[in-house]
Symmetry: C2
Subunit: 435 residues, 2 copies
């Protein structure tokens, strides 16, 4: 079926599974090198995950934060791309099994990123909404808007309450940003769109299992983000865990029960594992173990980078954070090391350079940690916007996003509140029969 079942034997073939931050950086760095690059992804586009929450809350179009992978590499001659689902690695044969047939590799790079982790709780997985991909963010947007429409005509007060309670689970950057964006929707958009609804009935909760929000950031940023959220009317519950959720009532570890049909799950991630690796190569959280050269132990030609890789060192016993800069830096370093390998030179170990971290809570409110420097508020918010705008792939995306942000800033509006694909609560996915 596929023309990639064998290698030509002329150039070493580097197969990259995943077109995220790490995979794209690696492939770019191998431009003009004497290699054949094959990138595989289930989608034909790269997703700028840090802004998914804006797609979910009507601030940006999906197309503004995604970029066709073929377009990124349109001038790169040694690059081949295929849309496919990789089902298994067969390391003994240097082969990947995929939905378009077997694909042979000389070097394999696992850059599959992470999936939402429901920690084995099947019921929660079924009834709550994850937000790790563009279709998921769009489903979330549809669900929120449909529940508001439904609340409008619901006369049973208990059912109505459950449609108007929004619970974000997980107080990392995604959870903080999502609950902040919902609070702004509630304040600036919903009163105009739904004059018939009593806004006092709309409640937004943020539930975090640990004692603090933004666990990876400084104490100061953590405290300030909580303060910001509370100013904006979000009920922040820290040190509280979700026990069960049956689609109607969310039971919490502090014995509180929230009557809600809107549970947005951002409480954890796990590696997006591929089948076929031995148990010894798998780390905690479904990630792939990797040494300081990003090599998977036991294999000379298999590497893992980005969110899926667990680079465990004595210094960092939990590995590195699952953020874009780690993936990008690993992709860059691995490009060098693959060339070293081919030339039979000595490999250089990967060193993570921490550029700092930031999160936005809402209009004029963000928190930034850069080394020992911490700042919060409006300047942090501008820094956050600038960094994210500049990181978007493509000039068109930058301009369109900029226009949308400027527009939202001055109009207090979020223009993109369309239910394009109806969400179906029974199947918890979009309604395939919607016209």
């Amino acid at each position: 079926m596929t023309d990639l079942a064998t290698t030509s034997g002329k150039l070493p073939r580097i197969v990259i599974v995943g077109g995220g931050f790490g995979g794209v950086e690696l492939a770019k760095r191998l431009k003009n090198k004497e290699v054949e690059i094959v990138m595989l992804d289930r989608h034909n586009y790269h997703t700028f995950q840090p802004l998914l929450y804006q797609v979910a809350t009507g601030g940006l179009e999906a197309d503004s934060i995604a970029f066709p992978l073929r377009k990124i590499f349109k001038k790169q001659k040694n690059f081949i791309f295929r849309v496919t689902e990789v089902t298994k690695i067969v390391p003994e044969q240097n082969i990947l099994e995929t939905s378009i047939g077997p694909i042979k590799y000389d070097y394999l790079i696992i850059a599959t990123g992470s999936d939402t982790n429901f920690f084995g709780q099947k019921e929660i997985e079924h009834y709550s909404m994850p937000m790790k991909s563009i279709p998921e963010a769009l489903n979330l947007r549809s669900m929120i808007l449909q529940n508001l429409e439904e609340a409008l005509i619901e006369i049973d007060p208990v059912k109505k309450e459950s449609l108007l309670n929004f619970v974000v689970v997980g107080g990392g950057p995604t959870g903080v940003e999502l609950s902040g964006a919902l609070a702004e929707l509630k304040k600036h958009v919903l009163p105009q769109d739904y004059p018939e609804l009593d806004m006092n009935q709309v409640t937004i909760y943020l539930v975090e299992g640990s004692p603090k929000l933004l666990g990876v950031m400084s104490e100061q940023s953590s405290k300030k983000s909580k303060e910001f959220l509370e100013e904006m009317g979000v009920k922040v519950l820290t040190d509280v865990r979700v026990e069960t959720y049956d689609g109607k009532v969310l039971a919490l570890s502090n014995s509180q029960a929230i009557n809600t049909q809107n549970v947005l799950w951002s409480a954890g991630v796990k590696g997006a594992l591929l089948d076929g690796l031995p148990k010894e190569a798998i780390a905690r959280g479904g990630r792939v173990l990797a040494d300081e050269f990003n090599r998977v132990p036991g294999f000379d030609h298999i590497f893992a980078i980005g969110d899926v890789a667990a680079v465990i060192t004595d210094e960092k016993p939990n590995g590195l954070p699952g953020v874009a800069p780690v993936a990008i830096q690993q992709g860059k370093q691995l490009a060098k090391n693959i060339i070293h390998l081919i030339k039979k030179e000595k490999l250089e170990p990967f060193k993570y350079f921490d550029q700092g971290s930031m999160a936005t809570v809402g209009r004029n409110r963000a928190v930034v940690d850069i080394g020992k420097i911490r700042f919060q508020g409006i300047f942090a918010w501008f820094v956050w916007m600038f960094v994210h705008l500049m990181s978007l792939v493509g000039f068109r995306n930058k301009v369109v996003t900029f226009v949308n942000w400027v527009w939202s800033y001055f109009s207090y509006d979020r223009g993109i509140r369309l239910i394009i694909r109806k969400f179906d609560r029974k199947s918890m996915t979009e309604d395939p029969c919607a016209k």
Copy 2:
């Protein structure tokens, strides 16, 4: 279930079914009048249908040509909106049956627009792609892009050919614009995205049953549009009808058979009828009969405007063309007449003012008829762009669309070629399980 099952009795309630050009214009014109307006639509947004083909071919985001209906009317106090599917009119009781329960009306306006007409050919309906709504345009985009990805790995030459033959059926404005846009994709975008594909294998056909393209326009525009399309490499077949299509082979009335998996159907429309009207009120093409006051014969309080209305007069025995200006003008006139009715004044008959018509074929190529004035080419193209840009609802949409068009013009690119929802050929709709 719904609070609209009865009227308050204070103000006359005007129920408008459909948030298209006619319905929106009518509701706007009734602002500040002593009436209660209830608008019902299956979607929560207004669609700018003339630009759907740009969504289907990657030129614009869906969100740029749609606008939330609630937002259009956010400052209109006498306006109520509900997302619902109307299933039936019960004229004896002045009631609509809907998916959210019964809704009572004093005046009913049917502004449901049109659906794709397959003229009863079930097999063609199943296997070909219509383009009358945003989800349909997005499905079309996904199908085109997925078939290109598939062609890349297909080794059977017959199957490969069928993935690379594109057939647009119907030579009205939509068919002309769609085939032109595909020709530009083929020329400027696909060679860079798919360097592995031989562009000579990609063929675009436009099949029209009558002897001329753009039947409603002047002879000159018709001829010129054909010339433009042929210059751009489109194979234009006029006076040729589709006989059968089984998903693989399209059989034509000139005995030609085209091996294709891409059939885009824009060959006809029919009224989007509601159940419950008597046979005498239904005209040819599934439309609702209406007199010069847009009143449905036999009913004093039921009106039809826009594409769904068949205003048959001696002057216009086939009714008026199914275009936005007719709907808008009827909406405007009907607003006046409803006020007349309420005040028991004499009604004013509707007179259509033909502002002219236009169609774009491609870059620098459009045709315009305004009264006796006809022009084609680059100036016509700028006029077309200006008119369409200005007609888009919302300042944000205008700016974002303008940025996209300027970007496409200078880069020869169409940025938005993402397969966001995978299209499933078996069900001929999007894949509900895609992540």
